[in-house]
Symmetry: C2
Subunit: 236 residues, 2 copies
């Protein structure tokens, strides 16, 4: 049975509802989202496969999730490195970056070079609100992620993919197929084009909200903040 | 070897530093603190021992940690009930309470009655900033927690205990010995009077901060937000 998906428009409405009537702050939601991503990376890439994690951070909320994930990964014993070329002036993102600096996590400017000495990549460039063209400097970064043999974990969406229609037909991202996807709250329609390991994270959705948006609260186990589901959104 | 402890004054300074130069928001820290507590409860009281968890919530940050823990416990499949007699007007606490209401978590006014039909109690009344007298309506609540056979988990300090000197010599709390203690960031001096299962939580302290305050970052495992240490603060 295919998992129900959430359109880009519905995902935006859900986030807005969580932060208005749901009474969550963005700080809280991003902390839990990033924690989910860190747990998925730990699951697919245990520390003994290599500690070095390169996190590609975009300018919006997907990037913020990546910054939080990097901090938790650092506490687990990984050695994250951050590529964050378009730093937001938003107070929350600035604070998340400072928290990493206080853990001596390095920020680098040259993604292709950093990619040559990492064991895993987290793609936190664009999420469900992406549409249109990939802007500079990200085309080369996505191209590098498409071509590398280093495994890549994408947050919510492989960056450059259309949220409804999946990989672009041509150009940047058309050959980008990350190994792992962490869908936050619920999968987006693009999952039907995704063939790797697929997790759902974001264990804060109430049954009432899930019902309203037409999906089920995933069957998380124990204290896990993630649950693995089948590729393409099929249940395991 | 005894774990190093953090005085009430040092714990307050540490919190202040995390939220100023450390760039954390209270939302973030409380989310991670409450998550730690929820994981400790899951560890000592697995769901098959009974789903009903009564959370006694005080008016300050210790209470806020309890509200967050209750939410996570609800997501794990427990059935928390909240006793929260002195509701704060603080925006964050109001939002944390709303998040529980949206999960249909009941709030009750009568602690002794609620205690008769619960499987575990979380004591989130007072934390490291407590000193002096226990004010109404909490003396009877602490007395009930002291007398019950239901296991009790305290957050950071058994409520009514002096942070440096442990249980009061007489009166309210003098016979209160909770089964479990979750020390946040680092144990407080009172742990030397505590004989139950002891966890440390709050996996957000940087090595630099720990060194500055004279303690070690605990040896957390995997993605755990808690680590069990020996009773009285001894290492296991």
């Amino acid at each position: 049975m295919a998992l129900k998906t959430l359109s880009a428009k519905a995902a935006a409405a859900l986030d807005k509802e969580l932060m208005s009537t749901g009474a969550f702050s963005l700080d809280q939601l991003m902390e839990l989202a990033g924690l989910s991503v860190s747990q998925a990376v730990y699951r697919v890439h245990p520390i003994d496969r290599g500690r070095r994690i390169l996190v590609a951070v975009g300018p919006g909320n997907n990037g913020g999730d990546g910054l939080v994930a990097a901090r938790h990964l650092r506490h687990y014993g990984y050695q994250p490195t951050i590529y964050y070329p378009k730093r937001s002036k938003n107070d929350l993102y600035q604070r998340l970056a400072k928290q990493l600096e206080d853990l001596d996590v390095p920020f680098v400017d040259d993604f292709p070079t950093a990619l040559q000495s990492t064991d895993h990549v987290v793609d936190a460039i664009f999420g469900f609100s992406f549409s249109g063209e990939v802007r500079e400097p990200f085309p080369a970064v996505i191209q590098a992620m498409a071509e590398t043999k280093v495994p890549v974990t994408s947050i919510d969406a492989p960056s450059s993919w259309n949220i409804e229609e999946g990989p672009p037909k041509s150009g940047v991202g058309s050959n980008f197929h990350p190994n792992v996807l962490v869908s936050l709250t619920a999968p987006k329609p693009l999952v039907k084009y995704f063939k790797g390991r697929h997790f759902i994270g974001g264990r804060f959705v109430t049954p009432a909200i899930a019902e309203k948006y037409g999906f089920d609260v995933p069957a998380y186990e124990g204290v896990d903040q993630i649950v693995e589901v089948g590729p393409g959104g099929l249940r395991l």
